[in-house]
């Protein structure tokens, strides 16, 4: 057990290095994406960090064709919610996959995406 809560800066530093980190409640074993102070399931504060393998399947996706300022030159691009094998989900930019090949249930794998100063969660071919 540890009192260390993984903060956003550390989570995305790990993403940049190619690693996904989750936190698990040592009381009720609920798995969550950090940061989180209290366990949403049992209310305790007893997190331990656990690595995620990065394998998952697409739960839903969209192809963005009208983008916000800052992403305008990147269209069209796909964003997906991916259900990871461990049971938690993550939202990420789809990369290295033809847009027309995307479907709910498609297996994908995490990879870091660095665009300018920003580090994104990416998902590419499994």
């Amino acid at each position: 057990m540890t009192d260390e809560v993984v903060n956003l800066k550390d989570f995305f530093a790990e993403v940049r290095a190619g690693r996904l980190t989750a936190i698990r409640c040592s009381q009720c074993h609920e798995l969550a994406i950090p940061p989180k102070e209290f366990c949403g399931s049992c209310g305790k504060r007893a997190w331990e960090s656990v690595p995620l393998a990065g394998h998952g399947t697409i739960a839903s996706f969209t192809v963005i064709r009208v983008a916000p300022r800052g992403h305008v030159g990147q269209t069209p691009y796909a964003v997906a919610v991916v259900r990871l094998a461990e049971g938690v989900s993550l939202l990420g930019r789809v990369t290295d996959l033809p847009l027309e090949s995307l479907r709910v249930g498609l297996p994908v794998r995490f990879r870091p995406l660095v665009i300018g100063a920003e580090t994104l969660i990416g998902f590419g071919p499994a």
Partner: protein, 384 residues
């Protein structure tokens, strides 16, 4: 809690304006004062809603500004920001201020001005209502958020793009009869289906527009309202929240905050979905209306699409939904939307809605959703 009634409403024309958002609110509030027939000095406080003023108008501290423009510069004011549910959230707190016996007459509402900035700026400011760490960097837009919901709903229930298009066609048909609506023009199913994709599977005509506008509501205690000629009673005003993160939503095909806010409102009002005669709900995208009709208990999960297709949500249908034209046709000035929905239901329950009147409406419901389905307000209204 003391009983609370709406005694006056005012809404500006929705569309493009060259006045500031607080000026638009002041116009709506002036109309609400005239509608209520109260002295402006009877107003004891202001609950004000606006979302993007800091970015789009370089204006914060809008509560005192709005009060100053109204000529009521000394009343207590608070500005609310709850994404697109902003002025409905403000409304709930105004109801509680009167219900608690703190005040007898309160002004509530909001305004937004966004059409003077380029579309990609507006899209960015609205995206600030989603999380800045996980979501904004991916380039996820609000159409994108609801596209994720649409895809999940299609995958789970077989909902079709045609069924979503029926929502747009119906709301534009209703909006023709609303003189305040941004678009007063019928559209065909083909127009919707042939419009370009914005965020697959949502197309341009599945999306509500960017809009400038203001809306205001005057609330009063029962003691004051009894002296007014046509009070509409607030039967319940409830809020619910869901996780901010798209990655934490357990089921993307549902909006659980709608389900919980509706259940709480029905319980407090002692009514059920079967008692509701007219509904104004948050159709920021066509799929949002389909999911909301399910979450409010009007239809079983998965039946929102077929209900739209069969006309069950049209005027004359089982549950008339968005008879004002909804956000889709009336427009969506995000800080004003909740108050504008309430103004429509009050107009309906007073039997003053003219060609868009739902005959004999006695109980109405408003539903406003904020951001990536994290904030929902549901209120119920009655003639007695």
């Amino acid at each position: 809690m003391r009983r609370v009634a709406v005694i006056g409403v005012g809404v500006t024309k929705f569309g493009k304006h060259d006045r500031t958002s607080t000026e638009l609110f002041a116009e709506a509030a002036r109309d609400a004062v005239v509608d209520a027939g109260v002295e402006p000095r009877a107003i004891q406080s202001l609950y004000y809603g606006n979302v993007t003023g800091g970015e789009s108008e370089r204006q914060l501290h809008m509560g005192p500004l709005a009060a100053s423009l109204l000529g009521l510069p000394t009343i207590p004011t608070t500005r609310f920001e709850n994404a697109c549910a902003t002025s409905h959230a403000a409304f709930r707190h105004a109801v509680m201020e009167i219900g608690a016996g703190v005040s007898d007459v309160v002004l509530v509402g909001g305004a937004e001005r966004i059409l003077h900035v380029p579309t990609e700026h507006a899209t960015e400011y609205f995206a600030y209502c989603s999380d800045a760490s996980f979501e904004q960097p991916t380039g996820l837009t609000f159409p994108g958020v609801f596209a994720l919901i649409a895809r999940a709903h299609m995958d789970k229930y077989g909902t079709t793009e045609e069924q979503m298009a029926h929502v747009a066609v119906k709301n534009h048909r209703h909006g023709v009869h609303n003189p305040k609506a941004q678009f007063r023009k019928e559209i065909s199913l083909e127009t919707v289906l042939k419009s370009p994709y914005v965020a697959d599977p949502l197309k341009l005509f599945d999306c509500c527009p960017f809009t400038d506008g203001g809306a205001a509501v005057i609330l009063a205690s029962e003691e004051v309202a009894r002296r007014m000629r046509r009070p509409v009673w607030v039967l319940a005003s409830e809020a619910a929240t869901d996780t901010m993160f798209m990655h934490e939503k357990r089921d993307l095909s549902r909006v659980t905050a709608t389900e919980r806010a509706a259940a709480a409102a029905y319980r407090r009002a002692g009514r059920g979905p079967e008692d509701v005669d007219v509904v104004e709900l948050h159709d920021c995208f066509t799929i949002a209306e389909i999911v909301a009709t399910e979450g409010l208990g009007l239809f079983e999960p998965g039946m929102g699409g077929p209900a739209a297709e069969k006309g069950w949500t049209s005027i004359g249908g089982k549950f008339p939904v968005n008879v004002s034209g909804g956000l889709k046709s009336k427009g969506h000035p995000i800080g004003a939307t909740g108050a504008a929905q309430i103004a429509e239901i009050v107009t309906q329950l007073r039997d003053e809605a003219g060609p868009r009147q739902v005959s004999g409406a006695r109980t109405g419901l408003t539903h406003t959703l904020g951001g990536n389905t994290a904030t929902v307000l549901v209120s119920l209204f009655g003639r007695d």
